[in-house]
Symmetry: D2
Subunit: 277 residues, 4 copies
Amino acid sequence: MCRWLAYYGTPVLLEELLFTPRHSLIDQSLHSTLGAETTNGDGFGIGWFGSEKTPGTFHSVEPAWNDRNLRDLSAHLRSGLVFAHIRASSGSPVQQTNCHPFRHGHWLWMHNGVVRDFPRVKRDLVLAIEPDLYPSIEGSTDSEVFFYLALTLGLEDDPPGAVARAVGLIEDVGRRHAVEHPIQMTVATSDGSSIWAFRYSSEGSSRSLFFSTRVDTLREQHPEVAILQQLSDESRLIVSEPLGDLKGAWNEVPESHFGVVHEGQDELRPFAPIAPA
Amino acid sequence: MCRWLAYYGTPVLLEELLFTPRHSLIDQSLHSTLGAETTNGDGFGIGWFGSEKTPGTFHSVEPAWNDRNLRDLSAHLRSGLVFAHIRASSGSPVQQTNCHPFRHGHWLWMHNGVVRDFPRVKRDLVLAIEPDLYPSIEGSTDSEVFFYLALTLGLEDDPPGAVARAVGLIEDVGRRHAVEHPIQMTVATSDGSSIWAFRYSSEGSSRSLFFSTRVDTLREQHPEVAILQQLSDESRLIVSEPLGDLKGAWNEVPESHFGVVHEGQDELRPFAPIAPA
Amino acid sequence: MCRWLAYYGTPVLLEELLFTPRHSLIDQSLHSTLGAETTNGDGFGIGWFGSEKTPGTFHSVEPAWNDRNLRDLSAHLRSGLVFAHIRASSGSPVQQTNCHPFRHGHWLWMHNGVVRDFPRVKRDLVLAIEPDLYPSIEGSTDSEVFFYLALTLGLEDDPPGAVARAVGLIEDVGRRHAVEHPIQMTVATSDGSSIWAFRYSSEGSSRSLFFSTRVDTLREQHPEVAILQQLSDESRLIVSEPLGDLKGAWNEVPESHFGVVHEGQDELRPFAPIAPA
Amino acid sequence: MCRWLAYYGTPVLLEELLFTPRHSLIDQSLHSTLGAETTNGDGFGIGWFGSEKTPGTFHSVEPAWNDRNLRDLSAHLRSGLVFAHIRASSGSPVQQTNCHPFRHGHWLWMHNGVVRDFPRVKRDLVLAIEPDLYPSIEGSTDSEVFFYLALTLGLEDDPPGAVARAVGLIEDVGRRHAVEHPIQMTVATSDGSSIWAFRYSSEGSSRSLFFSTRVDTLREQHPEVAILQQLSDESRLIVSEPLGDLKGAWNEVPESHFGVVHEGQDELRPFAPIAPA
């Protein structure tokens, strides 16, 4: 499985998100405490929205902790909407096309978890992907197939609905192949304006997911923390496991829920798969 | 497209096949004269049969001409049945899972050429692969899909028949998608005892393919060439383009033919695709 | 040897410099016409100045023509001062620490050419480097040693003087080791405000170097070329070999000369090595 | 720091040394229990003696646990004298030229530990290397400089003496630069006939080092362990931390000692640095 981070807010240097915090994502690549594995060293990726139409991405098969390009890019790229992902492979090869975040058009997607018994269900899932989308699949992970299922089922128009239908399909196909708990997931996706983040698993015991407290509240509680002065009230982090140890800074996304982070009031709502008709 | 070499005969150090000859395969990675491209720098691979049940393979995404591991392994590995392949990508990513030779069980497979308009026909071809074999596909090339079609259609029992049926299927699917000349190929495959090498293209104008003259004949004509003294009479090379410039050493495989190299008399026979029923 | 490009002017997307032009630098990585080698596939690097104090760099050991990260970063990074370099190794290993441009503090450096018989003269050259600078050397190329010699001899205060003294030293050490023509070079260096570009060789027959004609002149001659409307009059490219085929666009830097590109009037002056006292 | 393994004995498939044992070296790359770091993911290398004059080596910058080439080579290479090393960088870049084992002629060398404050002492140490050997240094690690010092000081004629003199020199240079404890080490070196393995540190608290009990003794104590039937009495493993949990199988090399493994009776002797005259 993996660790990931999504950021929405005042544009910052990526290194302030990835390297500077205590127990940063890069630190988690060697010393994850809440992950399924301590080490997340099977490649990584970042995605960021800037002034171009599509987000930029950078993927590498080297462990994040010692990647010189990541360190340098992070010190020179600023963005107000950032995805970052460190990978612990659950079997598929370590190659750039298997590194998250995946991109299609101006959408980004990243996943921590697993489609269980993927070799057994892969063919049926791939068959359910829109034939026009199928040739764009580049890697061999369950996560990318999941992304293309969501795209097939309406991600660009209705992200929560499309993810619910994709999860419903994966559960349906899995159960037809006698997979007990077909999916385990936290997922983030973005179109450059909003971030949707989901926490769900067939067994009702999902991987951890946290969102940061509103910056104005934190600023009031912690007037001594300098960086909070620079961030807009609405700046928000969503993470697999908390960074740093600022009291009151982190809130767990409840089991079977998803959040939406965007301009205006963010939202937290229940999530339930929609089985195929 | 690509360049490749297959060797059957007296066990030799791989470097004698890959580096030592004038206009060696490694030289062709920078300076191919008969290939579709001059440079074949998009990764490479070797496969060799030794004393274990399955062949060994080594794949790298770095250009062959400067790969230190390839140079070192070649100087320390001996084998009597060797495949080597240098890649010029026709579009799919440069990653180890896209490097030839591909292996399944104790079979090796490598391809120079292209399944034309692959994104358009890929889904139909993949659907024709035996569902039990499907999850073993690791990369995203046309060549690997072609291998799995051949496996589906009986490669392990009847290699020439299976390749003929796979090509027939690719041409059938291509034509249904309005692809004028669906396939261009030279292919080599081996089970560790024999090598089968095919030259064919839908347009009847296939990439070049050569086999070496019998060693006893060459030895008689060229008593001065030391290495010929060490090789058994039956040692044979099959290559995309000739190595060196030894007079009388190379014979072209005719258009739409295949050769079989094994113990005893080698064979050269016509090849024709078998369309699906 | 290698190919390189330096750009100063209106901030542009890097892809407009690296990928868009006919006979672009990336095209030259496969098909150089003026280089010592046709293929420059032994890694590459880019450096760019933006809003941070130091320039960003990105290095990769994969050939530039198929590097997905380079393509993506180039489509998302804008800069008004860019270095790009594609490498054809003259012997040292293909590794990121041997990829140009090299960076020290806010200085960039890149080199096409060779310090001849480098293994023979390396120790003496390295001994001449300021001991405090010595531990910062990361790779094993002649080009990086040349950079650190220039830094030792005053690059940050007087770039043309420091390069002249470094070349003088290299020639002196070379001749003491019986190297006939100790150096062959085109070099570019920048502090983020100016670019200095040098053309010189001990044998008086240096690798090619070109600078672009002033944009206002080109705009007058070619009112039909859209991109010229977007560039400031002062925008300037310096390249190992011309991009595209726009008539009147390219001027050769004369043998044993260097140019300075900066705000205000650019300069072209004679260059001569300064032998050690 | 790092983990390593050296094997002398009956030729075996490398995978039986690297992958098969419980708590194998590859397992230690993710879950080291005695190492300075849990994760040893900054590249790896193997070296093996076979029928050629020089040993073969294979180095990779990917973590060992997921390297497909390592898994495949290990399943197809047999050797009776094997070195294997997994790296946790103490600062120098992750690149093949920094991966152990290092090779010079027919000698292999690998190191776990550190030359402390290496940037401060590097120049003086490099100056002490024989000028003819100097250009052969390819990477930037303390370990390779240590190897070249040992070569300079007579490794090929008197390995224990040369290592003692190299350590004495490193301690002398370190102390002149106010480094309190200049070296921490376990080192293995081999010429293809013998293995010398050293345990020493300036502070008298060295990294762990173990050698396996004689096979005939183990076989008597554990008649149920099948693999012991296949190994010669003299087969021997030397490791940074024990593999598996076979009772009585492992003996610690005492502080400031070295062992020699070769045909005939192996030896264990005290080790003390020899200061420069």
